[in-house]
Point group: C2
Chain length 216, copies 2
């Protein structure tokens, strides 16, 4: 049965999306610090960097990275995560991920300015639509063919799905750094834990993996 | 050698001080939720409630509760934590803790309106002073006689000492609830982790104990 899943890296002070990007430094510095322990896992290196050497960490962080990629049939992401905000004037923008985006399934990009779909040889298809969270999720469920749907990000998109009660599994990798700036994940979510069982596990890296799980 | 220590309970969304107090409910509901797993430990029951039955939890939360009370020679707290803000018109206010406050050593209360000291039979003495964090700490070191100094709270007081680089050990018990309101511990502390080694441990209760430790 389809479960709706979220996986995010956040700082100890709760920032999931960074805001220190500049034209010269399009990801900013904070993003790298937030995702460092994830990007050195063996799974990330295989799945995103197409590294076939088998190198990378294999501990707790890697176990969560494996789950991140498992059982997915569709994803929903915000326009900012796809890169539309950073590239508003480029009608040919195809995302950050090169010619082999690490999806292999349909991705719905929420935007007020839809554009034509983009289809890659590896099964990744970006579809652009204007929709409420529930509408987008209904469409994603159809596309997922019984597999899971991931709400990819960023923080504001995830928070909208959480507020509407649409998420079954929320996993946050809490990185022990204080960013002091960015977009907070937790705003306006008082009492969220009531609908979930919450567990935490500390990784060798110092990252704490906290999981909200509903009705499983 | 004296170490300057902080121990706080915070919510997953970073609130250390609650703001839902009313005259009818002077602690509010959030405070109880933030401190629940701490207040059911065997150590808290013995040290604060004077419970001699030996009841209470004895796992990871209790191990941190024991450390909370160990090796202390003095404490510094804000006026709000002592209760001056909640009882501004009561010159005889003696704190929340009854006739046996769980200190047994001098406590410096930072306030813009100092009053006469209060001395209890069990060694607890509340002294009221107007001082910068560094000035208050110098006085507390003298009083501590080589033992540790604890910065008790609330969040704003702790943050002032952290910002001034005066804290050696910061322990936060992160409770897996989202309060959505209160006073945040982490504001304006970007990069704090650079001066510390940071470790985390998950307790049986679901609380995550994160410790910032400097130069030990």
């Amino acid at each position: 049965m389809t479960r709706v899943r979220v996986d995010l890296n956040i700082s100890l002070d709760g920032f999931a999306t960074t805001t220190d990007q500049t034209p010269e430094n399009p990801f900013g510095d904070d993003w790298g610090r937030l995702t460092r322990d994830y990007t050195v896992t063996r799974t990330f290196r295989q799945r995103v960097l197409h590294d076939t050497t088998g190198e990378g960490t294999t501990g707790v962080d890697d176990a969560y990275a494996e789950r991140y990629f498992a059982e997915l049939g569709a994803e929903i992401m915000g326009a900012g995560m796809f890169g539309l905000h950073a590239n508003p004037d480029d009608p040919d923008w195809r995302g950050w991920w090169g010619d082999e985006p690490p999806f292999g399934f349909p991705v719905l990009v929420l935007t007020h300015a839809p554009r034509a779909p983009i289809v890659f040889a590896n099964g990744t298809e970006f579809h652009f639509l204007t929709a409420t969270p529930a509408e987008a999720l209904a469409r994603a469920r159809e596309l997922a063919g019984g597999r899971d749907v991931r709400i990819g990000g960023g923080a504001e998109t995830v928070r909208a799905f959480l507020r509407d009660g649409l998420v079954d599994d929320l996993h946050v990798a809490i990185v022990p750094i204080l960013l002091g700036r960015g977009v907070r994940l937790w705003d306006d979510l008082r009492g969220l834990e009531r609908d979930y069982s919450v567990t935490s596990e500390a990784a060798e890296s110092g990252v704490v993996h906290t999981t909200f799980r509903r009705g499983a």
